[in-house]
Amino acid sequence: MATTIERSTTSGDGAPRPPRDYTRGSERPVGGFELWMWLFMRISGIVLLVLALGHTLIMHLPSGGVDRVDFGFVATRWASPFWRSWDWMLLTLALIHGINGLRNITLDYVRKPGTRFAANMVFYVLGFTLFVLGTIIVVTFDPSNWPPVA
């Protein structure tokens, strides 16, 4: 006699099981945070290539290198809003890019949720502090407010 295989429509206790609705119901978005961070890493990576490489070529390589960078050098450079914007973008993008990279590393290698949360919090607080300090300097720096350099 042929055996009929029927799809089970009852749960273990024999009560009818409603068909699960896979296509509707959950309000989770397609994409969301992980998508945007993934996209951000790619775009900021390209922008950082220009910003960081440009920074290195301008600040570190010409004759004298970092040795010629002093108060006067910075004051002259930051007289231009262009260089202030450049440095602020470098600061912001590098911090978010780097800290999201660290977040991804904790996702990969830190298995305990508590330890992962703690590690990420240290990164976020550190990053936020550096961002605030850097932003304050970029926005408020005014050479005339500083005592003259000998």
Partner: protein
Amino acid sequence: MATPADVLQDSDARRAGGAAGAVTLTLRIRRFNPEISQDSWWDEFTVEADPLDRLVEVLHQVKWYHDGTLSFRRSCAHGICGSDAMLINGRNALACKVLVDDVGPRVTIEPIRGLAVLKDLIVDMDPFLEGYRTVLPFLINDSGEPDKERLQSAEERARFDDTTKCILCAACTTSCPIFWGDEGYIGPAAIVNAHRFIFDSRDEGSRERLKILSEKTGVFRCRTTFNCTDACPRGIQVTKAIQEVKRSILFDRF
């Protein structure tokens, strides 16, 4: 890089040329038996084999004539069931698709990585299959039963042809460094099987699958190392499939 097709062609050429006689093969196999020791150890076996023997036949020779306690999974032995994925000379492969001639006189065999070893070359596949189940790997279509087949054009079928080849051997997922670090990552094999339905014109569950794959354990953990593509014994372009899913999440939402 030799693709599986190249390897097969090489083997065919050698077969036509007639490989000469038996060769002596030294097998180093990583053993594990929790009833004996909590640590793994290495056993060495020296066996005679035909250069055109598949490695699974050499493992049978060891198990049947040298050491009956050697444990490994195999069912069809013809590269279809996906039971005998193992780490052969540092690369994931099916023991039934690798020839003695392909691996040289010394072969190192270990269990696939990233899954708990139960005994010798047998690993616990549950976390792997859990990832597979997560992506709803079945046809979802609420438009009602059709009178006949659900028709599809040749082009629509070709769209996901590559990912229909998966045999769930776990060679890709257990070659993935992200999966090694975190078995919560659903892994390349699950994404391949999601891809198979996401790009199927008859299926209506893509949105739900893309939501699942957008999560922290989903496709955006992929670092595009291509280990999965190299490891796939079916020649599936695994990394390409993962990138297509990412692209779909990025662009199909608009």
